[in-house]
Each structure stands twice: as C-alpha cells, then as structure tokens.
C-alpha cells in the first residue's frame, strides 16, 4: 500500500490533452494512406424481409467504383460475427457481416460499395437495388415470446434466446413470512450510446510482409485482432490492430462488428487500403444499443422495513443477432440486483428474446444501471408503502462496515464499504431535513418539489477471469529506458479516461520521477503485450494494478542495482526523488540515471542480475471491486408543462483510493449526465414495423449543456482489498448511480398526485398527463 503522495492523488493536468486541444490527435478518419479506397454500406430499410435479388451493375459502372460485394460474395469466405458470451442452452444464430437470404433489422448491412472517394462511394451505394419480400416483424419482446409471433430465426422455432435463473437463500419461504409484499413492473428503455466519434475502420494489407493492419475505433484492440483473424481465416500474427485516438466508446466500441472484418477482407481482396467511416445515422441503426429490459419485481418486507427477499423476472430484448456480449449483459443485472442492501434471499429469472431490432450490448454500466434502477426504485416504493423516510429505510438495510467482505445471495462478494457514511454525508450536504420542510410548504402552494436518493453499489474492475468470457486480467510492461525515461505498455485501451496521465502519476510516484518522464503506450497490438481492453471500469483497478506490479519488480531490481553500486544490502536502499540512497544516510546516494545506466551497460552486476530494466506483469484480480455512494437529486416539476428542473445534484462517491481527482470528477460528471439523459430524455423508439423512428440526433435527445445543472461532487474513501493500490474504478459509477436518483426525485415531487411510478424517460408530456388525470378526478 502506498503511503507517499507526491503524484498519486493529485489533480494533474492530462498528458494527452496538448494534442487533443490543438487538433493534432489522430482518430481513424484522420488517417490518409496512399491509394486509399472508401467503402459505403447499403443497409436494409426493412426490419424483416427476404432478399430476392440484388442488382448492382449500375453501381459497379458508377465513376470511381472498384468493387461491389453482397452477402453471396463473402459466403463461406468470411466468418460470422462472434459472440463471446456463454450461457447454458444459449441459441446462437449465424450472424454474417453482409446479410445472407434475409434481413432481420433495419440497418442490417446488405452490400458494400468501394470507390475512390467517399463521395463517389456514397453515390454508387444509392444505385444498388435490392428486391425485398417484406415479412412481418416483431419489436416487442413480450409479444415475441407469444406463440403466434413472427420468428426472427425460424430454425429455433422460438424467439427465446436464453433462460437464466439465479436463486439464493430461501426466497419463497421469505415471501410467505413477509408482512408486506411490494410489487412493481418497470421498463428500462432502450438507449443509444452516441459516442461523439462514430465507428470507423481502415485496413491495409502488405502482401510482401503478409501483414494486415487494421485501424479501428475500438475499446479492445487485442480481442478484435484475435476475432478478425478468425473471421478472415488468417493466423493471428499476420494481423495488427491499432486503436488510434478513439472518440468515446461507452461500451459501443467494446465489440467486434461485421464492418471491421469486411473492410479488412476488402483491403486484402483489392490490394488497396480501404476506409469505412460510419455516418451518424448508421451509428444509430447499427452500432449496439443499451438497456431494453422489462422487469417484474417484488420485495418481501417486515413491518419495520427490514428487507427479507426479492424476486425478479427480467425480459431482455436482445435484438436480432448477438453481438460480442449481448446475452451476458442482463446476467449482470441479476448479480447486482440486491444493490447496497442486506437481503437474505433472491430469485431471478432472465429471459433473453430475439426481436427485429439492433442488438443490445454493453452500454456504460451494462446491466448494472438496470439493477440499481430496480432496487433503488423499490426502496422508495417500500418507504412509500410503509410510510417511512426513504433515507431511513436505506440506512436500516445497509450492511455495516464490519460485515465486509459481504457475500450476497446472488453469489458475489462485496469487497469493502461504508454505505451509511456516504449516505449521511450526502444528506448533510444537501440539507435533507430542510428540503423536506420546504417540500411540504411548496406542495401547499401547488408547487412540486421532489428529493430523490440513490444509494448504489456497483460491480466494477471487470473482473476475475472465471467471470469474464475472454479473461479478466490485464497486462502491463514497464520499461525504464537507458536514458532514465519510462515507457509503459498497457493492455488497457483508454478512449478518454486519461490513463496516459494516471499511469504516469503512478510510475512517477513509485520511481521517484515526474510524470513528464513517462510515456504510456496503448492500443497497438504490435507494441503492447496481449491485453483485454478498457471497459467495465477496469482500466485503473486491473490495468493500473498490472502497471503497479511491474513497477514493484523494477523497484526491486533498481534497489539491488543501487545496493550493489553503494556497497550495502538491498534492504538498506530507498528510492528517493531522482535518486536511490541508503536508509538514514541520504547523502550516500546514487542518481537514478546512474543506476539505470549501470543496469544497461552491465559492466558490473549483482550476482544473478539480468541486464536491462523491463518488467511485464499480468494481473489477475481475485474479485471485482464494489464502488458505492449516494446521489441526491432535487427537482421541481412544472405543473403546467411537465417540465423537470433539476435544482441541485449532490453526489458522494466512493471509488476507493483516487489517483487523480480531476479525472474522477470528470468521470462522475459525465456518467451523471448520461443518467439524466436516460431519466429525462433518451429513448430509442422502434415503431411496430421495426423502423427506428429516433434515427438521428433530430429525434433522439442527448443532454446539452443547458439541460443539466452544476453538480456538487465529493467522496468518501474506502480502499479495496482486491488490489494493492486499493483502487476501485469510477468509469460507470455516475451512470449506475444517478438514473434512479432523478426518477425518485420526480416521483417524490408528484406524491400529492397519488402516483407510485412513472415510466422513463420522464418526458414533459408524460408528467403533464399525470397532472391532467389528477385534475379530472
């Protein structure tokens, strides 16, 4: 455990920023290669249809066009889009990069046109004519489970893709003994991730070296490399994947998409580099969506508010095909469903359903925001039914600090926590008691003030390999160069999280250097040892720990080397600022650079000492980490319009030890705003024919600067015992914690109307309708 804090814990300016704020960074679309060709993809306008024929002669004759490919051209040549999730009896339909015979969602790729400019490729794509025989589509997952529903994949004779059950304790018995059972049905609506940079791929094949290079806007370069190699049928060492600057991911780039293999295939086939850049419209239609669950929840409680058991049925709309982790996401909902509370028994049934929609998959929080929403809404409903204060009911059911590690009946072990401390801190900051008084006063005046709490816990730092489809460890190589500067190679693949800075802080702290002495390299499979990637709030807690472990190995070598030069025992050597010295004798020192050079020139080495200063570690976490906190949202709802004004937002988060508080605040702010988006604005709406009617930013509202307030953030610090630095991770906390705080606040505001729940998003009209109904009564 670290005790010094010369760099760790400091709000250091980011090392990645100078290139980003000067327009000098390179995203995929910024790549210019000689002879570059551009791909445009023809997509299905139908949600479900048979392909009768494709006519593309006109496209092929269009100026500048070099190739047109359809599903038939890649049949048998290009493998299926992979799914890594594994559940018992999971139905896995074939998922070709270009549709074969049938299309199953609007936006499914049907053909690809390659031209010598993006303009000409786009022109030619318009000339491809596809004859479709439209088939009935199904877009409602509950209807899809009915007997007479159209089938998305006929071969399965059902639209049920999987059934997963989880039971712990004695739930049925608890329900029999309960004083009261509180029930509610919820919908966690479908969301669209909308990373500001749409997806993009460039591929180049060097026939001489037999090397395929793929630049992709991805969160997982190594996994992508393995999968592309498999889809193309080439050995993995012939493929290099580079994730250049990536403009946001939020899980939407934690995937392997058909286009990535398709563009690689085209580059090999044409002998020219090929670029494909997604339009925003394509991004809406055919990059993964998030959430989309229907939940029936019931909670058994004692009269005093003690929780006894929870039962939940999850119907998850998986869309038409599996992407990388599609069916696994709702299982995370199951694991986290008991939230921050001691609930001794649980029973969960999750049904995954195929529909004629884009696949859902990991979107920021991935299954955990759904869980937190359910449990935090239920806590408010329990409080409401028992006429108790929502803060009190939470405090009553939290595990106490002495209970940690705390094993839940869902089978996970919460590592550390003091949930009451965070809640109390948040209440104090927001002035909870006064707010309740003000609320009563305003209600009498016909004004609707509401206070919403969310005491969340989340599962992050994904995760132990036993729980992860493709392994859950992370790699890091740290190399002290002969100049005394440090190169870090990390398997994490950040895309905005700032690990070039936080890892540099870590190195500087441990080696007595400054962050300017450190460069962090990521996202290139040729440079970096095999890694897993950045998602699931894992970069710091897993990737950072790998760096930390490599640093410990190097520190040992450095002290041995210094001891050898100083003629003392290694235990007597201490690493100071830019030097190593003898404990208690600071003047008996060797410059850091001198020690490093001695290790490289290797003229005199301690016995058995390997020359050089490079160490690689693969950190395998023993458990997830479990950040937690309490968010409080204060809203006022305008009676006449249904408009929600967020008056205050207080967040107390505990992500364990903090390496850079500036970065933590940034993650929390961004997460909260995405949550506010889900609570108030965002919803991917498919009509009953399977058309995505919120198919652009014109109709899908992500929050703008004027839609959100200033946030009041603070922290408690409960180190994690899972890793030596005690860090937990914070990338998804805001998104996991905040949605129910907003919804609880709005429902709380409208208590005088006698309502208990409102479906998300809490659009103005929806709230206005509630006021109208009340008036009509």
């Amino acid at each position: 455990m670290m005790t010094k804090t010369r760099w760790v814990g400091k709000p250091l300016k980011r090392k990645e920023d100078p290139r980003l704020i000067q327009g000098l960074a390179h995203y995929v679309d910024d790549l210019a290669l000689p002879g570059l060709r551009y791909a445009a993809i023809v997509r299905s306008p139908h949600a479900h249809a048979r392909i009768l024929g494709i006519r593309f002669a006109a496209a092929l004759e269009s100026p500048g066009v070099v190739a047109v490919l359809t599903g038939e051209d890649i049949r048998g040549k290009l493998g299926m889009v992979p799914v890594a999730a594994d559940l018992p009896e999971l139905k896995v339909p074939p998922h070709p990069p270009l549709a074969l015979d049938k299309v199953r969602y609007v936006g499914e790729p049907v053909a690809v046109v390659v031209g010598d400019s993006r303009y000409r490729a786009r022109d030619a794509a318009e000339l491809v004519e596809v004859d479709y025989e439209p088939l009935p589509a199904v877009t409602n997952p509950e209807k899809a489970l009915e007997k007479n529903s159209p089938l998305v994949h006929e071969q399965f004779k059902t639209n049920q893709a999987c059934l997963w059950k989880l039971e712990g304790g004695f739930p049925d018995k608890a329900f029999k003994q309960a004083h009261r059972i509180v029930r509610q049905r919820f919908t966690n609506q479908r969301l669209i991730p909308v990373a500001m940079e749409p997806r993009g791929v460039v591929a180049q094949y060097d026939a001489g070296e037999e090397l395929l290079t793929v630049w992709s806007s991805t969160q997982i370069p190594h996994l992508l490399r393995t999968q592309i190699a498999a889809m193309l049928g080439v050995p993995e060492m012939r493929v290099r994947v580079i994730a250049p600057e990536v403009g946001g991911g939020f899980g939407s780039k934690l995937n392997v998409y058909g286009e990535e293999a398709l563009v690689a295939h085209l580059a090999m086939k044409l002998g020219r580099p090929v670029k494909w850049i997604e339009s925003r419209r394509e991004n809406f239609l055919s990059t993964i969506h998030g959430r989309d669950q229907i939940n029936e929840v019931e909670v058994a409680v004692k009269r005093d508010g003690t929780l006894l058991a929870l039962r939940c049925r999850i119907v998850a709309d998986l869309g038409a095909y599996h992407q990388l982790l599609t069916p696994a996401i709702p299982t995370l909902t199951g694991l986290l469903l008991l939230g921050a509370y001691k609930i001794p028994a649980v029973k969960i049934e999750y049904v995954g359903v195929f529909t004629n929609k884009m696949a859902t998959d990991a979107y920021r929080g991935a299954g955990r925001p759904e869980a937190t929403f359910l449990i935090e809404r239920m806590m408010d409903l329990v409080a409401m039914e028992l006429k108790q204060d929502p803060a009190e009911i939470r405090l009553k059911n939290f595990p106490q600090p002495k209970d940690f590690p705390y094993a839940t009946p869902t089978g996970v072990i919460y590592d550390s926590g003091d949930y009451a401390a965070a809640l109390k801190k948040a209440l104090a900051q927001v002035g909870y008691k006064k707010l309740r008084q003000e609320q009563k006063r305003l209600w009498k005046q016909g004004r609707y003030l509401g206070v919403g709490l969310s005491s969340y816990v989340e599962i992050c730092a994904m995760g132990p390999s036993s729980q992860m489809p493709a392994g859950g460890w992370e790699s890091a190589t740290v190399r002290i160069e002969p100049t005394g500067k440090v190169t870090v190679l990390t398997g994490s693949s950040p895309h905005g999280q700032g690990q070039e800075t936080s890892f540099a802080q870590l190195v500087a702290e441990e080696l007595g250097l400054t962050p300017d002495d450190v460069i962090v390299i990521h996202g290139d499979t040729k440079a970096v040892p095999y890694g897993i990637g950045t998602f699931g709030s894992r970069a710091t807690a897993v990737g950072g720990t790998a760096v930390y472990l490599s640093l410990q190995k190097l520190k040992q070598k450095l002290t041995r080397m210094a001891a050898h030069l100083l003629g003392v025992a290694p235990e007597q050597v201490v690493i100071g600022e830019g030097e190593l010295f003898v404990k208690g004798k600071p003047r008996q020192a060797k410059k850091f650079l001198e020690v490093v050079q001695a290790a490289y020139v290797a003229k005199t080495l301690p016995p058995g000492f390997e020359p050089g200063l490079e160490a690689t570690s693969f950190f395998e976490p023993s458990n997830f980490t479990f950040p937690f906190g309490t968010h409080v949202c204060v809203v006022e709802v305008e009676r006449e319009t249904g408009d929600v004004h967020i008056r205050r937002y207080v967040a107390v988060d505990d992500c364990g030890r903090v390496i850079n508080p500036l970065l933590v605040d940034g993650q929390v702010h961004g997460g909260i705003v995405q949550s506010i988006g889900q609570a108030l604005f965002e919803e991917a709406v498919y009509d009953e024919n399977g058309q995505l009617v919120t198919g652009e930013l014109m109709d899908y509202a992500i929050p703008r600067a004027w839609d959100v307030p200033r946030f009041e953030t603070s922290r408690t610090v409960t180190p994690s015992p899972v890793n030596p630095m005690g860090v937990k991770g914070v990338g998804e906390a805001g998104t996991i914690g905040a949605t129910p705080a907003v919804v609880n606040a709005v429902v709380d505001a409208l208590r005088p109307l006698g309502i208990r729940d409102i479906a998300m998003p809490l659009k103005r009209e929806r709230l206005w309708e509630l006021f109208q109904k009340k008036r009509a009564r």
Binding site: P45, V106, F284, Q691
Partner: protein, 145 residues
C-alpha cells in the same frame, strides 16, 4: 401511422366511385403520379414524385384496387420504393350518399421505412395530411367535372 377522416365531394356517389376506379383518372388523382401502366388485374405500376417542396423524390411502385364494392366501398393498396426507403399505404374508402353529394370516409395505414422513417418523423403527419388533401382536391376536380 394510422390515418382517417371524412371528406365531402360535390358529386353523386356513382360518379365518384367511377372516377376512383378509372385508371386514367387515378393517374390524375394520385399526387405526384408521373406514369401509370396496367400490370395485371386491377393493379398498376406507377412512377410517383412523392414529397413536398424540396423534399421530394422519385418513387416506383404499384397501385392496386384490392377490393371494389360499387358504389360504396373501395380498398386501395399502394406500394412505393425510392432511394430513401419505402412508403406503403393501404386503406378503405367508404362512400356515403348525402343529398347528391358524397361523403367519403377514409381509413388506412401508412408504413414508411428507411431514411424517411428515421429522419422525417416530425413532418410525417403533416405530409400525410398534405398528400391526402391533394388527393381529395384532385378527386373533387375529376368527379365534379
């Protein structure tokens, strides 16, 4: 999108019905119809210029008089396909005699797909109203002539 409404045409019911099933008249009734060719029983291939103002494009499609019960009921099915997707409509027209005039009750559903469905959402209803308005204006002109 569901559509329904009523429209009075100042012509007797038989006349209105005749116009509605006359291929040459149909070509003049359908807003933006540029060509109409027979293609089997009660079915016609059409070229349509659909849309409003700058937002119009050429569509190819079919018109089918799916059900005819002279002079009171008619079912029309229209399909069209263009570079931005498709627009298909099906609906019934019920003709009611009203003192020498005809009250037309219409009800139907329009399905659109592709670009129009995901971009033009907020304009769809207004556009449908505009096209229906044009249709009835044309019908009035044809039937009362």
């Amino acid at each position: 999108m569901k559509i329904q409404g009523n429209q009075t045409i100042t012509a007797p019911r038989e006349k209105v019905f005749r116009v509605l099933v006359d291929p040459q008249a149909i070509a003049r009734l359908l807003p933006g119809c540029e060509e109409l060719e027979p293609a089997g029983a009660d079915t016609y291939d059409v070229k349509l210029k659909l849309g409003i103002a700058a937002l119009s494009g050429s569509y190819q499609g079919t018109v089918k008089l799916a059900e005819q019960r002279p002079p009171e009921r008619l079912r029309l099915e229209v399909t069209s396909r263009g570079p931005w997707g498709f627009a298909d409509g099906a609906g019934t027209l019920e003709l009611e005699e009203k003192k020498g005039k005809t009250l037309v009750h219409y009800a139907g559903e329009v399905k659109v797909g592709g670009m129009i469905a995901s971009i033009g959402q907020r304009l769809l209803e207004g556009a449908a109203r505009l096209v229906i308005g044009q249709f009835f204006k044309n019908l009035e002109k044809e039937a009362s002539a």
